[in-house]
């Protein structure tokens, strides 16, 4: 029983969580947030099949999401017109197949080399598709995109999918299924060989695996899941525009996967949940959310290249050794100057956005419930002072954190002996 629990417990917990969450957060905002998180999780995990598991840095992964979405939308309109006998629940498979077709073609063309060449080809293909989207209005729908109606008669489950919570459960089911499949894929020989090709293509070729075939296969499977996410996107939003195949979603999936961490399977899930949450909640509060997102990304690249998952897993041995308590004081101590510094930077950013974007810059700006004039030198001075003081103490505390980290590692080494 304990081994069973250890092995499947996390999956059971995930299922229960997916079932219970919409019962706790009932507002339409949180339901749509949860649905978007589900789609992002599939998309980010599929991206990590390339970057994390296959060592292919792609700048055009949204092509497969978008193509899947567009074909699903066309199929949805055919289902609605009675021309295609396919239950709505299986519609994402259409998107997945679109991804597979595009993935085989573009994958074979681009996977001869990895590294910079692959990155540039993926960028080129992405720009190519995005630019031709505006030239083929009957497929991509031109400027206004293509819309559909998900309330079709053909369903398997009897749900009408008029309510967004029903769509949420559909997305959750597909999400759990895809996550499970992608996890199992990492355990298959293909997943292992993909890792081998990532680490050393020459040696992989030497023991008889053609790196290009392995990469193409991995690429195609990733494109399948991306297309599936696109199909779910089509069902969820009932509209899809040419922007979906463009550089923007390609860039943001790269960033969310990297922030989550490419080295661990669950990293992209964390990234997708966090970034989607930021996207949906911060975008409503501040114009500057993209700037914060970019800053977060660059900070992760500079100081935590293994992402949030890497940071978490770094502490696993410490936790097992029972030494986490020794780290806590320094962590709590660094939290204070960090928050002070971030508050200062945030005030500065918000003041600037207020001055450059609002209709009348002399209108009072409200931050943390305090209304003030954005031009007032007091606000500027306070913000700069907060940022500077925060930075000063932050640097001091970094030393303390490093010191206690070293002590803990020493203690663990000692315990080993």
């Amino acid at each position: 029983m304990p081994t069973l629990l250890r092995r499947y417990g996390i999956w059971a917990a995930a299922m229960i969580m997916c079932g219970v969450l919409p019962l706790i957060f009932k507002s339409s905002f949180s339901i749509s947030l949860l649905s978007q998180m589900g789609i992002s999780i599939i998309f980010a995990l599929s991206y990590n099949m390339l970057l994390g598991q296959g060592g292919m840095l792609s700048f055009g992964h949204a092509v497969y999401l978008g193509l899947g979405g567009f074909l699903s939308m066309h199929a949805l309109n055919k289902i609605g017109g009675g021309a295609l006998p396919l239950p709505l629940e299986l519609l994402p498979l259409v998107g997945g197949m679109a991804g597979v077709v595009a993935g085989v073609v573009f994958g074979w063309l681009s996977t001869d080399r990895s590294g910079t060449t692959f990155a540039l080809i993926s960028l080129g293909i992405g720009e190519l598709i995005a630019a031709s989207a505006l030239m083929l209005p009957s497929f991509f729908g031109g400027e206004e995109g293509i819309s559909g109606n998900r309330m079709v008669k053909m369903t398997l489950t009897g749900f009408k999918f008029g309510k967004s919570v029903e769509v949420y459960y559909l997305i959750a089911c597909w999400m759990l299924l895809s996550v499970g499949l992608m996890y199992l894929l990492t355990k298959t020989p293909l997943g292992r060989v993909a890792n081998a090709v990532r680490d050393n293509p020459e040696r992989a070729a030497f023991i008889g695996y053609n790196p290009r075939s392995v990469r193409t296969l991995q690429f195609t499977l990733a494109a399948f899941f991306a297309g599936l996410a696109g199909g779910l996107f089509a069902i969820n939003y009932e509209i899809i525009t040419a922007e979906m195949v463009g550089a923007h979603p390609s860039g943001s999936v790269l960033m969310m996967t990297y922030i989550g961490g490419v080295g661990h399977f669950f990293g992209p899930i964390i990234g997708a949940v966090l970034v989607t949450f930021m996207q949906q909640s911060l975008a409503g509060i501040t114009h500057a959310w993209l700037l914060y997102f970019g800053l977060l990304f660059v900070m992760m690249v500079l100081w935590a290249p293994n992402g949030l998952a890497g940071l978490i897993m770094m502490h696993e041995p410490v936790w097992k050794a029972g030494l986490l308590r020794r780290l806590l004081p320094s962590y709590l101590a660094i939290l204070v100057p960090t928050l002070v510094m971030l508050t200062g930077i945030m005030i500065l950013v918000e003041i600037n956005y207020h001055l450059s974007l609002s209709i009348n810059p002399d209108d009072p700006l409200t931050l943390f419930g305090i209304a003030f004039n954005a031009r007032s030198p007091v606000a500027w001075g306070l913000a700069i002072a907060l940022a500077a003081v925060g930075l000063f103490f932050f640097r001091k505390m970094v030393r303390w954190v490093n010191q206690s980290w070293n002590e803990v590692t020493q203690a663990m080494k000692g315990a080993d002996r």
Partner: protein, 316 residues
């Protein structure tokens, strides 16, 4: 027809030399550090915005000097405190750092100057038609752009081949360890090249921001084109970048004037008919509308069949 040809050649020269100013810096940085700098076009954008702001304050001519210098200093700082920090995590991390930097610069420009395009007009001293051929005028500003970029091309060539620092740079491109062993400060050379490349992008921004448009999306529009240039020309090859810049500019300029479609092409060999279904527009696209996709098509084909590029010596 002659008029169309002549002006297309002149315009593609102007655009091509602008592209070369951007791609020369990028290709030098790439061959030296192996880093594809995604933020290079962002330095071009910074150049345009700085140029706009300084023109407002003290006029165009000082801006032409000050703005690129500022951009160069920013570039050097980015190399010193950003790229050098992530260098230990490998090339992917360096590349991603520049991606994030491009993102931040675009948002920073939004933050400071707002989301609308700036009114950044041609300076008055250059705002008159230089000559009129047949019935079309050629503006002085275009000629000025051409002269500036040719001067920079010659200057760059001279510096790289005729001066001591140029020789050190050339040596550091291929044998950084050897150069370092001879007692030269290679990290310093890297920083200078990065700063210099950024400054060149800044010059391109100051004059290109007037010629094209100064808006927060300008980096994202031009950035991929510059990549196409250095890929087609061959990564790390200055001559290749020069040829490819002119070639791409010519393709883009000439395609605008040609109104043929696939249907016409098939009709030419005797096949008539219409594509139907979801891709029915495919036959109707005219060559003049394919301007935006041609460079990328060119790049993808190049990478697949001749990854060295036109003049490159090595693959990625």
């Amino acid at each position: 027809m002659l008029e169309y040809l002549l002006f297309s050649v002149l315009n593609s020269l102007v655009l091509g030399m602008l592209l070369f100013m951007l791609s020369s810096g990028l290709t030098l940085i790439f061959s030296m550090m192996g880093v594809l700098n995604f933020a290079h076009a962002s330095f071009y954008m910074l150049g345009a915005y700085f140029g706009y702001q300084i023109t407002q304050a003290v006029g165009f001519w000082p801006a032409l000097v000050i703005a690129p210098l500022l951009v160069g200093v920013i570039g050097a700082l980015v190399e010193r405190y950003g790229l050098r920090t992530v260098h230990k995590y490998g090339h992917v991390a360096e590349l991603l750092f520049t991606v994030g930097l491009a993102f931040i610069i675009e948002e920073g420009v939004n933050l400071i100057w707002g989301r609308n395009a700036m009114t950044y007009p041609v300076p008055q001293s250059l705002d008159f038609p230089l000559f009129t051929l047949f019935s079309t005028e050629f503006s002085t500003y275009r000629m000025f752009m051409l002269l500036i970029s040719v001067a920079i091309f010659i200057g760059l060539y001279m510096v790289l081949t005729r001066t001591r620092i140029g020789l050190i740079i050339q040596a550091a491109l291929t044998h950084p360890q050897g150069v370092s062993a001879l007692g030269h400060n290679v990290p310093m050379v890297f920083m200078m090249v990065f700063g210099g490349g950024s400054a060149l992008a800044g010059v391109a921004g100051v004059i290109g921001g007037i010629f094209l448009i100064t808006e927060p999306a300008m980096a994202a529009t031009l950035g991929p084109i510059v990549f196409v240039v250095i890929v087609v020309g061959g990564m790390g090859s200055l001559t290749g970048a020069f040829v490819a810049s002119l070639l791409l500019a010519a393709i883009q300029t000439f395609a605008v004037g040609l109104e043929y479609s696939l249907t016409d092409l098939f009709a030419l060999v005797g096949i008539h008919g219409q594509v139907s279904g979801l891709l029915e527009d495919l036959g109707r696209i005219q060559l003049s509308h394919t301007g935006p996709i041609l460079p990328y098509l060119f790049m993808v084909l190049m990478l697949m069949f001749r990854p060295k590029g036109l003049m490159g010596k090595r693959e990625s």
